[in-house]
Each structure stands twice: as C-alpha cells, then as structure tokens.
C-alpha cells in the first residue's frame, strides 16, 4: 500500500503512519463527549430552528469556538452527510470558510456543529458603517469562495447577510454555515446559480453594483 499523500512512508498495521499521526493532530486533547468539553460564554443568535453560542473548548486548548445547535432530531445518516460535507470543505482550505471541529448528535438527538470561531459582524448588521471598499472586498471574497465551493460540488444554500461576517478591524470576510441548509432542509433545488443570485442581491442591498 502506498499513500498518495505520503509516498515512501511504511505501512503501519495497514495504514500510512503519517496519516495516522495527522488524525491525532486533528483530535482534541482529550476524548471528550463533544458538548461536555464546552463552556458556554454567550449567545450569538437564534432562530426558530437554531441557536448559536460562543463557547470555550476545554479539550482544544481552551480555544474559542462557535457552537450551533439545531432544534430538531436527526438520524445518523444525516450526521454522516454533515461530516462528509465538513471534510470536503476542510480539504479545500478556503480562507473565508471556518473550520468545522466537530459535529454530533446530543442526548436529545439534536444535531450540533462546533466550528472555529471567527471574529466579525454580520454584514447586514454592519451595513451602515461599511465603506464601499469593504463591501467590494466582501463581494469579491464571497464570489471567489463560492466559485471554489461550486467547483467542488458544494452549494452554500443560504447566502444572506447573517452568514457573511466582516471583521471590524481587518475587513476579513467569513462565509458561515456552508452547505448546511440544503442538507438539513432537503432543499433539492438549491444550486450554484441560486448562490450567485443570492450574493448579487445581498450586495445590491449594500449598495455594491458589481463594477
């Protein structure tokens, strides 16, 4: 067996040793029960279907994380699809997407996702204070990120002002919750064109003409 990512590494029990070590690198520092490792710091928002918190992850060196939980029971089949989606997004290593650290089902059967916390304000909330240049940067960043996602067969499915964060100081842009809505809502018709249209509408509302 030859590992395509680590050619020349001897097999270890049928596995590439370097790949096994990378699994350990990505693992939390302790084998926690997912939510039990989190210290909730403050709520970040909620909808009828979801609730989002800022939390500190004790088993990931105390780093700040974003916890999003859905108020619906899901099957392990759906969880598997979520894990697969996150793995595909992580593999793209796009600067404007935050890394998913863990996804699971809590004791009530509800889906939760723990992801890297990115500082920023929803672009729709910050609209009044944004310069034209910042909006332009956000538009370009979102456009190139969506293009990369679409190229990998991933549709965002929920491009709106609440899912586009802008860092107040650096103007760095983060696109949140990529691919989750199509998976969870079973929105079969969501397409790359829908994403592009939604982005264009968002930017128009923010006064960006695309020029």
């Amino acid at each position: 067996m030859t590992c395509v990512r680590h050619p020349g590494v001897a097999a270890q029990g049928g596995h590439c040793g370097a790949c096994l070590l990378e699994i350990a690198l990505a693992a939390p520092s302790e084998d926690g029960a997912g939510l039990d490792s989190l210290e909730i710091l403050l709520p970040l928002g909620s909808t009828d279907d979801t609730v989002v918190f800022l939390a500190r992850d004790r088993w990931r060196g105390g780093r700040l994380v974003r916890l999003k939980a859905w108020r619906r029971a899901v099957s392990e089949d759906l969880l598997a699809d979520v894990l697969d989606l996150h793995q595909r997004i992580t593999a793209l290593a796009l600067p404007a997407t935050s890394s998913s650290l863990e996804a699971g089902i809590d004791a009530h059967g509800h889906l939760y996702v723990v992801s890297e916390f990115r500082q920023g304000v929803p672009i729709s909330s910050a609209a009044a204070s944004l310069t034209a240049e910042v909006v332009s940067i956000a538009a370009r960043t979102c456009s190139t990120t969506l293009e990369a996602l679409h190229g990998a067969g991933i549709v965002h499915g929920a491009v709106h002002g609440g899912n586009v964060l802008v860092h107040p100081a650096t103007s760095a842009v983060t696109l949140l919750d990529t691919g989750m809505r199509p998976l969870l809502a079973g929105v079969a018709g969501a397409s790359a064109e829908d994403d592009r249209r939604a982005l264009a509408q968002l930017m128009q509302r923010l006064g960006f003409s695309g020029a």
Binding site: M1, C3, H6, G8, V9, A10, Q12, G13, G14, H15, C16, G17, A18, C19, L20, L21, E22, I23, A24, L25, A26, A27, P28, S29, E30, D31, L35, D36, L38, E39, I40, R58, G61, G62, S75, E76, D77, L78, L79, A80, D81, L83, D84
Partner: protein
C-alpha cells in the same frame, strides 16, 4: 449542555519523573521504569544504526537502562527534559561515550531480570530498515513514531474487543485512514447490519478515539500535554521525510 468546568493540570508520566529531580520516590521510579519498558526499542535501533553489532547494542541498551534506573534522577537542569524522547537519546549518547567500557562488564553480571527486553523482535524491525539512508538519529525517531502508532492501534483494538465489538474492530479499523482498496461503505454496512450513515459515523468516532489515545500516549512522554501538537508534528516529519 454542561456547566463550566475548570481545566485541571494533567500529570504525565514524564512529569512525575522529571518533577522528582534528584529525589527518587516509588512513584517516580515506577513511572520511569514504565517509560523505559515502553520506549527502549528506538534506542536499540539507534545503536545498531550507529554501527554497533547486535551483541554490543544489546549490552549497551541493557547497561544504559540499568544505569538510568540505578541513578533514578534525570538531572534537574537538563535542557532535554522537556521530552522523554529527547532526554532518552541524549542520555544514551552520553552513556555510550562515557560509561560503556566501565559498565559493560558489570552489566553482564548484574542485569539479569532488570528489564526484560525482546531483542529478537527489535533486531527484526532493525533489519527491515537496513539499507535506508537513515542517520542513527533519524532511525531513532522513526522507530519512536512507529512504536507510538503500534501502541495506540493496539489500545484501540483492545478497547473495542473489551467492549464486545471484535467484529466492528476487524471490519472498521481498516477505515481509520483512506487506504486504498477498501470495501465501499454500503457493503460494509450490510455486513454489519447497520445503515451506511451509521458506519460512516462509527468510523468518524473511531478516528476520534484513536486520535485521543495516541495524543494521551504522546503526552505521557512530555512535561506538559500542551507540547503534544509539536511532538506529533515532529513524528510526522520523522516518518514522512
């Protein structure tokens, strides 16, 4: 969701040994013996790669551990104390230079039963590496990495078997990494009587558990578990370069 929990200091085996400094107690001695018993093979690989023949390497390995365990301290000011891996190799180098001639004769007479080491197995794995361009230090690090992985895999397998999940261990452990020629998840799901999604989630959880086990074992050789990431990256470099 649980309420806040304060992070507690994790005492690693190496922490117990290093904290004892020059004052040996039963706990630190047991910890040091445990670590030596687990991690001696890379030292043997180092010595063989240095050019010592089989018998000389065995004598040196046994003599070194007798010396280390008799001393029982690790040198309070030793800069290599941060990692047991670094400490062990540095200490062996010093021993090989300074103590070999004087101690070998004493070793042969007084070491029987001190540490029971399977040199035949170590020699077999050394032979697999003969002909590579590894420096002795690289051979040491590679052996350390492969030893750590083997222990973690064995621990994970033992956990599954102990939980009555031998079938799952046999069928799902190959999916830990994306090795080629694995059966499709659907086929494996049918074999285990699970849904395909449940199989994927089970594999995900196995990877998590394996990662946690390996991290714990790596952390046990460090003064602080905070250094685990760096140590794992070094082990990846040792294997992949």
């Amino acid at each position: 969701m649980s309420t806040a929990r304060h992070r507690t200091f994790t005492t690693t085996r190496w922490t117990m040994v290093a904290a004892a400094g020059g004052a040996v107690d039963a706990t630190s001695r047991v910890a040091l013996e445990d670590l030596c018993r687990l991690y001696w093979p890379p030292l043997y690989s180092y010595l063989r790669r240095q050019g010592y023949d089989r018998e000389a390497a065995q004598d040196l390995t046994q003599g070194f551990f007798a010396h280390l365990l008799a001393r029982g301290d690790v040198g309070v000011a030793d800069p290599a104390r941060g990692r047991f891996r670094s400490f062990l190799l540095t200490a062996l180098k010093r021993y090989a230079i300074n103590e070999y001639t004087r101690s070998t004769a004493a070793c042969r007479g007084g070491l029987v039963g001190a540490l029971s080491l399977d040199f035949d197995d170590a020699e077999r794995t050394h032979a697999l590496g003969v002909g590579t361009h590894d420096t002795p230090e690289r051979a040491f690090d590679r052996k350390w990495a492969t030893l750590s992985l083997a222990r973690a895999l064995a621990s994970l397998r033992a956990e599954l078997v102990g939980a009555g999940k031998s079938d799952m261990a046999h069928v799902l452990l190959p999916y830990l990494t994306e090795a080629s020629e694995l059966a499709p998840y659907q086929e494996t799901a049918m074999r285990l009587g699970m849904s395909e999604g449940a199989v994927k989630v089970a594999v995900h959880r196995l990877r998590h558990r394996f990662g946690a086990i390996l991290r714990q074992q790596v952390s046990d050789t460090l003064l602080s578990p905070d250094g685990a990431d760096d140590e794992i990256r070094e082990l990846i470099r040792a294997l992949a370069s």
